[in-house]
Amino acid sequence: MSGETDYSEKVMDHFHNPRNVGKLEDPDGVGTVGNPVCGDVMKLYIKVNDGRIADARFQTFGCGAAIATSSMVTELARGKTLDEAIAISNKEVAAALDGLPPAKMHCSMLGEEALKKAIEDYRKKRGSGEAEG
C-alpha cells in the first residue's frame, strides 16, 4: 500500500486539470485499451478533418499517471496528421509530462495504444466505405 507520489509538477497539473476530458458525440474513431484487473482503462475519441486530428477527448479509469497521460496524449494528438499522431510514443508522452516514475511507465503505454486504436478504428471505418471528411 505504499504510495507512488513523486510525480512531476506537470503530471500533477494534468491530473488536477486534465485537458480534453469527456466523450465526443459522433466520433470518427474510438480506441479503448486496458482492463481494470491490471489497473487502468482508457477510452479515446477522435474527430478527423482533412486528414488531421481535429479533436481528441478521453475518459479514463486509472491512477494519476494514467489520467495525466490521457490528458497529454490528447493535447499532443490535436492538429497532427494521422501519420504523425500514430507515431506518438509513450516515451514522448512521458517526456512531455517531464517524466514519470519508473513504476508508472507502463501506465503511459495506455495513451499511445488508445490513440493508435482510435486511428485504426477511423481507418477501418473509412476503408469499409463510410466516407469521412
Partner: protein, 393 residues
C-alpha cells in the same frame, strides 16, 4: 494547509511519552546489556523492564518475549523458525491468503525449500473459516499461521477458535497480531496462541523494533547466528532505546484501550455513514461487525484508488489504497482479491485508518474534500453512468 493523517495502519506517530523514555536512555544509559559492570547491569535492567511491559500487554511471561528488528522479522522468525526446527516432524504449513507479505513471502520461500503450504481462502467478508482450517490439518502439519486482524480491511479473525483447534490437534499456532496491538485486547492464553508477532511502530512506538512471543516449549530456529542475546533466538546487541520505547508504547496502549477504541469506532462509523450519505455507489470491504475499531476500507465504484488519494492529498488528507497502480504491481490487493472483490472495485479501494490524534473535525473535513474528488474522477471515468446513482445496490 491542514494535514490529516488517516493511515495509522501503515505507521503511527511516536507518542511524546515514548520519545521521552527513549531520550532518557540515549542520554543516561550507556551500557551494553550483556556487560557485567554497573553500566551493563543498568542497561540490562532497562531492557528487562521493557520486556516486562510488552509481555504484560499480551498476558505472557517476560522470558517468552524475543525482541526483533520489527514486525517483518518477527513473522519470519516465527514462520521460518518453527518450520526449520520441526522439519523432522513434518513439512506442511497452513496459513491464509490474506496474510501480510511478511508471512506470505516467507511461506513462498519455504515452498522453494521443499515445504508444502496451504493458503486458506477467506469468505467475501474476509474471514478465515476454522472448519476449513481444521480440514486442512494433516499428520505432517507443523505450523498454523493466521493473523489476528488484517491490515487492509481491519477484519478480525476467529483466532481463539483456531487456537482451540490447533491445541487439540497439537499443531503450533502463530498469529501476526501487529494490527491488533493497542486496538483490541490481546491475550496469548485466551487466544490459544503459541507464537505472536508484534511491532512497535503501529502502537505509537518506534519503527524497527518488534517482538515475537514464543510459548515455553515451542522450538524455533534462529534466522541469524551470533551471541547469546535474546536466548540466542535473535543474536546481536539489543536496540535498547527502541525496546524501551516499544515497552512504554505497549504500556500506554493498554491504559485507555477500551475508551480509545470506542472513540475511534464512533469516528470511523461516522466517516462511513457521512460518505455513504453523500457519495452514491460506495461499497464497504470486510465484515462490518468484526473489524478493528479504527479501520474503514471502501470501494468507490467507477474510479481508481490512487486518483482518490492524490485528490485527497492535495487537500491535506493522507490515506491508503489497494490499487495495483499504486503498489507497482499488476494486480490489485491480494486481500481484496481473496475476498473476491471485483477487480474494478478492488482498484477503487481506499483504506482510512484512524488514530489517537484524529478528531471529529478531521473526519468531517475529510468527507467534505472527498465528495468533489470522487465526483470529478467519476465524471472522467468511461464506466460511469450518472443514471445509476439513483438506483440502490
Amino acid at each position: 494547509m491542514k494535514k490529516i493523517y488517516l493511515d495509522h495502519n501503515a505507521t503511527t506517530p511516536l507518542r511524546r511519552e515514548v520519545l521521552a523514555a527513549m531520550e532518557e536512555i540515549y542520554q543516561n544509559v550507556t551500557g551494553n546489556p550483556s556487560s557485567v559492570h554497573f553500566f551493563g547491569r543498568e542497561a540490562r535492567r532497562r531492557l528487562e523492564a521493557g520486556r516486562k511491559q510488552v509481555a504484560e500487554t499480551i498476558g505472557a511471561r517476560p522470558e517468552e518475549i524475543v525482541f526483533t528488528g520489527g514486525g517483518t522479522e518477527a513473522d519470519n522468525l516465527a514462520v521460518q523458525g518453527v518450520a526449520y526446527a520441526s522439519r523432522s516432524k513434518g513439512d506442511h504449513i497452513i496459513t491464509s491468503a490474506i496474510e501480510h507479505p511478511a508471512v506470505l513471502a516467507a511461506c513462498r520461500f519455504l515452498e522453494k525449500e521443499g515445504f508444502s503450504v496451504t493458503y486458506l481462502p477467506v469468505s467475501r467478508e474476509g474471514l478465515v473459516s476454522p472448519s476449513q482450517l481444521e480440514e486442512a490439518i494433516r499428520p505432517e502439519t507443523i505450523l498454523i499461521s493466521v493473523m489476528t486482524a488484517n491490515n487492509e480491511t481491519g477484519v478480525i479473525q476467529p483466532v481463539a477458535e483456531i487456537g482451540e483447534i490447533a491445541r487439540s490437534r497439537k499443531v503450533p499456532f502463530h498469529t501476526d497480531a501487529i494490527q491488533g496491538l493497542g486496538k483490541i485486547p490481546l491475550s496469548v492464553e485466551e487466544m490459544g496462541v503459541d507464537l505472536m508477532s508484534l511491532s512497535g511502530h503501529k502502537v505509537y512506538g518506534p519503527q524497527g523494533v518488534g517482538a515475537l512471543y514464543i510459548r515455553k516449549g515451542i522450538r524455533v530456529r534462529p534466522l541469524t547466528y551470533g551471541g547469546h542475546h535474546e536466548r540466542s533466538k535473535r543474536p546481536g546487541t539489543e536496540n535498547l532505546a527502541g525496546i524501551v520505547g516499544f515497552g512504554e508504547a505497549s504500556r500506554l496502549a493498554r491504559e485507555n484501550l477500551e475508551s480509545e477504541a470506542d472513540r475511534l469506532r464512533m469516528l470511523r462509523d461516522r466517516l462511513c455513514s457521512e460518505i455513504s450519505d453523500r457519495i452514491p455507489r460506495v461499497k464497504m470491504n470486510g465484515a462490518p461487525g468484526l473489524r478493528l475499531p479504527n479501520t474503514l476500507n471502501l470501494s468507490f465504484e467507477y474510479v481508481e484508488g490512487e486518483g482518490i488519494l492524490l485528490g485527497l492529498e492535495e487537500k491535506g488528507v493522507a490515506a491508503a489504497t489497494g490499487s495495483a497502480c499504486t503498489s507497482g504491481e499488476l494486480a490489485p490487493s491480494h486481500v481484496l482479491s481473496a475476498m473476491e472483490v471485483e477487480a474494478a472495485l478492488a482498484q477503487g479501494s481506499v483504506r482510512f485508518s484512524l488514530g489517537r490524534e484524529n478528531t471529529l473535525e478531521d473526519i468531517l473535513y475529510t468527507v467534505d474534500v472527498l465528495v468533489p474528488v470522487v465526483k470529478r474522477l467519476r465524471e472522467m471515468s468511461p464506466f460511469y453512468d450518472p443514471d445509476n446513482d439513483t438506483q440502490g445496490d
